[in-house]
């Protein structure tokens, strides 16, 4: 498996090398920017343990966008928080696994070293900018804090930097608005401030957790475009957590679909849309409303996501799956490489389904 530079919007014609789990970082000296290996996160509340993440593997390279797709409770945000080191702990706990960032296992770092990475080397953009910004501090102060905490910059210089950042994310009249408070901005402008904050120290990795979900559709596109543009400019790795398949198609290079704390499918973005290799992904794609299907009933995946305190044995998706057989109720399907019928490798494609062949080729 060799790595060649990844270009955005590559049609996945076999020239790309979008390796996903399991990865073999370091073999050829081109270790990915971030690599999550067999990550398990659980939340212990009173007598019960909620298994939120159950063996996640994924990797992101510089300049690459990985979209992590899944319903709420699928573990996509928890994985992100584990990477950032901001899990609510207790009750949250990393039970197992490794997270390699720029070649070092950050889970082994002392908290003080870890803190210095946050914001400076890896930054996070949250879903709801209104609640994620401190209501009693001006946006200028909150932006300037990045420089003051990490670079020991003076209050005055930090303010100048804040104005610069606000300009950078195209907030009109930045110099006049730097002293305004979060509630005085519109939703789109607030999310731009969140982006500016994440970008402040030009980190190598940005994790955006549903960055556009709380916004109007028209604003969504603007914010997403801005994020994609800045990512390109700074050549950052981007993990885009979303449940919105529409957002993903435009900006992502590769997709990891999560279900019940596991990755069930990975693929270069357009491959996934064309030929899903997991019944859950198939269900997700079929449940997108389509104009050319007007008048027909909308498709919905039957049932509900599993209770994470009692994940079904075998494949976690089996109670909702139309293809489920006996083996699905007993054996956990491993994440295996997906190939063409003649055995040709499909780079970057994996599926955790006993019947991936039937799903993709059937």
């Amino acid at each position: 498996m060799s790595r060649t530079p990844v270009t955005k919007h590559d049609e996945g014609d076999g020239m790309t090398s979008l390796e996903m789990a399991p990865t073999n970082a370091g073999a050829d000296g081109a270790a990915p920017l971030l690599e999550v290996r067999d990550l398990h996160v659980e939340f212990a509340v009173r007598d019960s343990v909620t298994k939120a993440v159950n063996g996640v593997n994924y990797s992101v390279n510089a300049g690459e966008t990985l979209a992590v797709l899944g319903e709420s409770g699928s573990g996509k945000s928890v994985t992100a928080q584990a990477i950032m080191g901001i899990l609510d702990s207790p009750p949250g706990r990393i039970a197992k696994g490794e997270i390699f960032f720029q070649g070092q296992d950050i889970l082994r770092l002392p908290e003080n070293e870890r803190r210095k990475l946050r914001g400076a080397k890896m930054a996070m953009i949250f879903q709801d900018a209104l609640s994620s910004l401190n209501p009693v501090l001006s946006v200028g102060f909150q932006l300037g804090e990045m420089f003051r905490a990490h670079q020991g910059m003076s209050r005055k210089d930090a303010k100048a930097k804040a104005i610069e950042l606000m300009d950078r994310v195209r907030i009109p009249a930045a110099a006049q608005r730097v002293g305004d408070y979060p509630h005085q901005f519109s939703g789109g402008m607030r999310q731009r401030i969140m982006i500016a904050m994440a970008l402040a120290l030009e980190p190598d990795l940005i994790i955006a957790d549903e960055p556009t979900t709380a916004l109007d559709v028209t604003v969504q596109a603007q914010v997403m475009d801005l994020l994609a543009e800045l990512q390109r400019e700074y050549n950052m790795g981007l993990i885009l957590i979303t449940h919105d398949l529409g957002v993903v198609a435009d900006v992502a290079d590769k997709i990891a679909v999560m279900y019940a704390g596991r990755i069930v499918e990975t693929a270069p973005v357009h491959e996934l849309y064309k030929r899903p290799a997991h019944p859950y992904t198939k269900g997700l794609l079929e449940s997108i409303p389509r104009l050319d299907h007007k008048g027909q009933e909308l498709y919905a995946i039957k049932g509900l996501p599993p209770n994470l305190q009692a994940i079904p044995p075998g494949c976690a998706f089996n109670p909702r799956c139309t293809m489920a057989q006996d083996v699905c109720r007993t054996d956990v399907p491993p994440l295996v490489p997906v190939t063409e019928l003649d055995g040709t490798e499909l780079p970057g494609r994996h599926s955790a389904c006993h019947f991936w062949k039937e799903t993709i080729h059937g």
Binding site: M84, I86, R115, K116, L117, R118, G119, A120, A123, M124, F126, D128, S131, S132, L133, N134, P135, V136, L137, S138, E145, M146, A149, H150, Y181, H183, M197
Partner: protein, 308 residues
């Protein structure tokens, strides 16, 4: 902002007028002659003396006229003349108000220091032995009336242990017991309030953001958690301080603290109406002004609040 303050001070006038009007009516219907005690015991009373006294204090005039006279003087800062000493009420209450203010400041400092630190510690070590004991002790403290607590403290620390003087006087040691008696319930309430607001703030998304920004723990705690937790506490403390400045009848009586609370209870026993009216006027005015200060402070601490 300026207009807001002016309007709120206008409300002060209405509140003071309303409160004193009700008070005048109440004092008027109460049995007993306000000047009776000055005139001597029942048997020795000379009707001529009584009449003379009524005239001197304007008690022979109708209630409405008496009230009008009171308001007229109040505008010039005159609270009238008291019955027992024939001295201006302002002159009598001035030093007493100072004493009450000293006690109130001491009590509010205890509220802030004990209340906030206990609340913050309990919230940060939630469900620990500290938190559980804090909840238990504060609940107990709120339940014990200050008259009981004050007398127990006096018994233990003054009479048995002899750590503090019986007569408080002006000494620093003298203020400790009454201040604690006065503060303990509020300190407990502040602790519980600080704990619950802090637990709420700890769960807030913006705290997670602050951590994700890589800010040092201490910065997250002071700038992002404490700053937001303290807003409701400040409001509560402001109102509480207003109440304290109105005089603490029970605490001042137990510890013989020469404040306006003690003055009020003595005045009630002596039917010394000008003092009663004076104390109430001062308390009402102080309370309304402090309420205004709290609202201004609240707006200063939380930019989302708009004064209107």
């Amino acid at each position: 902002m300026g207009r807001y303050v002016v309007r709120r001070l206008g409300q002060l006038v209405i509140v003071v007028l309303g409160a004193t009007m009700v008070l005048f009516a109440c004092l008027f219907v109460l049995p007993g002659d306000p000047v009776g005690q000055i005139a001597g015991s029942d048997k020795a009373r000379d009707p001529a003396v009584i009449e003379q006294l009524h005239k001197q204090y304007g008690l022979d005039k109708p209630l409405v006229v008496q009230y009008g006279t009171y308001v007229g003087k109040l505008v010039t800062g005159d609270l009238g003349t008291d019955y027992t000493q024939s001295r201006p009420v302002t002159e009598i209450l001035g030093p007493k108000l100072e004493n009450t203010a000293k006690l109130a400041v001491a009590a509010i400092v205890i509220d802030i220091v004990i209340g906030i630190s206990v609340g913050v510690l309990a919230a940060m070590r939630r469900y620990s032995i500290w938190d559980v004991s804090a909840t238990f002790i504060t609940t107990l403290a709120i339940g014990v009336p200050s008259i009981v607590l004050g007398m127990i403290m006096q018994r233990v620390f003054v009479i048995e242990l002899d750590w503090f003087p019986l007569i408080a006087g002006d000494s620093f040691e003298g203020i400790i017991l009454p201040a604690f008696t006065l503060a303990i319930i509020d300190a407990a309430l502040v602790a519980q309030l600080a704990r619950s607001t802090m637990l709420e703030v700890l769960r807030a998304d913006y705290v997670k953001t602050a951590v994700a920004k890589g800010l040092p723990r201490r910065t997250v705690l002071t700038r992002h958690i404490m700053r937001n937790s303290v807003i409701p506490v400040v409001t509560y403390l402001g109102i509480s301080f207003g109440t304290l400045l109105g005089g603490a009848i029970i605490t001042e009586t137990i510890f013989n603290w020469n404040g306006i609370g003690l003055a009020l209870i003595q005045a009630i026993q002596q039917n010394n109406n000008p003092i009663i009216v004076g104390v109430v006027t001062i308390s009402v005015a102080v309370f309304v002004v402090l309420n205004l200060v709290v609202d201004l402070l609240y707006a200063a601490l939380d930019p989302r609040i708009r004064l209107a």
